[in-house]
Amino acid sequence: MTALRNAPPRYALVVLVVLFFAGLPTVVTSFQSLEWAGVLIFAIAIMGLNVLVGYNGQISLGHGAFMALGAYTTAILVHRYQLNYLVTIPIAGLLTGLVGFFLGIPALRLSPLYLALATFALAVVTPSLIKRPEGLTNGVQGIQLLPPDPPPLLSDVFSLVNGGQPMTSEQWLYYLSFAIALLLFWVAWNLIRHRPGRALRAIRDGEVAAAAFGVNVAGYKTLAFGLSAFYAGVAGSLYGLATGFVSPDTFPVSLSFQLLVGAVIGGLASIAGPLVGGIFTYWLPIVSSQFVSDQTWIPSQISAVFVNAGPAVTYGALLILIMIFAPNGVVGLILSGYRRLRDRLRGAGERGTGQMPPDHQTI
């Protein structure tokens, strides 16, 4: 019971966040809905990375490659084989998950530093690899995807709350991403608080002890890799659909960094972290670039520099700041602030044991 009393009011917070995202397209423009779809898609990919890096203690600098695989799976199946795009999303996820699982097997033999390098190499070769089988991937030209029409029923329901305006395909892509993000965040939350999630975290905290209590370390580590890739594959599939165009340049090396930065900034080993990470890495650069280029008093040369280099510089600066001042990410910062406030309201001294403050890592 003390656990329940000490828990942050997280259920109310979850409801608020879900309501916010459900209602968002009714207050922002159709184009902005698509930007927010990007946030949710990044959140899915970052959640995948979070399972691997945050909860299991492995590292990947190559999750952009998994997104590329997911995106191209959907693009090729839709474009060449005229498959329904909705069907291709789980296919992309499962295929990427399978590839991730098999890549997880050699990863077992690598120390963290070499695993980082190996996955980084994967991210580096991905654009060139995509260009090769031109018949399949259309090479540098890439593959165009038509914006999907919203289902009529959903469109009608939406127009009721949106002043008679039917749902645009951008808004539909937003809701599709929202539904899938909701599902996959729920799945991750379930995994983490049950036996498999505890096994993943046990491995991160100590492999010898985890094995001593029956955790199949190699098995769980490869499964974590597969699961993580599954999330990235689904995100990639949605990313392709949302941008309507996939090409080798859609998946540069920097995408993989972006995802890792998002995971760290949001907060590793936290369920809310990836959403915060998605906002930081996808939405913030767009908004700040727009903001700067809208300011007429800033000379256009300077604002152009910011728009070009801004995101990269901001990531770097943010990452350093977060590492120094909030090693548990934005979510960790908020949680510790909440705890401090709560303890002050309750009166200090009640829990004063002269001990170091606990390092909370769940949710």
Binding site: P196, R201, A202, Q361
Partner: protein, 253 residues
Amino acid sequence: MALLDVRDLSVRFGGVIALDGVSFSVEAGQVVAVIGPNGAGKTTLFNVVTRVYRPAGGSVHLDGQSVLGISPHQVIKRGLARTFQNVALFRSMTVLENVLVGNHSRTHTTFLGAAVPTPGASRMESEARKRAMEVLEFVGLAGRAAEPVASLPFGTQKKVELARALASKPRLLLLDEPAGGISHEEVGGVAALLRRIHSELDVTVLLVEHNMGFVMGLSDHVVVLDFGRKIAEGTPDQIQRNPAVIEAYLGAA
């Protein structure tokens, strides 16, 4: 048949011989202690039995079956749980979560089962939590179940490790220095707890320890190692009067 049978066990690390032809056995229902000066090979012995190290020679049988062919994570399924010399708790988790990992081998919820929790998975989870709470009750830590282990004092962390091992319902418990690093006052409490584990839960205990008073008051049988060799074994009384043991501990008289 002995519950644990160690025969001619040898372990080498490069040129260093950590264990040299060590043999002894643990009968079901006994409390057996392995003692010896620092570097005698006591922890190495534990690490071989739990498959962390591979021996250069010899055999380890549990209930007549060799354990040397199985993976480290399968050891616990044979009913063999351990604690660690310097406490190897899962530091980011709470007390309860640590004990729940101890339960890992007795539950079988898979990734898929947990992803979309079925009624079966939820029932198994609540049963596991109930069992974990019972174990915490047994060691007297039920009130601290929700606390993160990293914030607990060392002595309490050792109790959590004991609870985690007990959650797997072992037949044989390997304890690496259960009285090491804790205050003089706490040692008596640990001894009493181990007696209850032995008698009430019917668990056979093999322990490594430096604290002689603790060992002599608790064990049925004592094995003495020095520089990787067994130099004596017998009842606590016999060991205390054994000249070779006295020499190993105090130097030649």
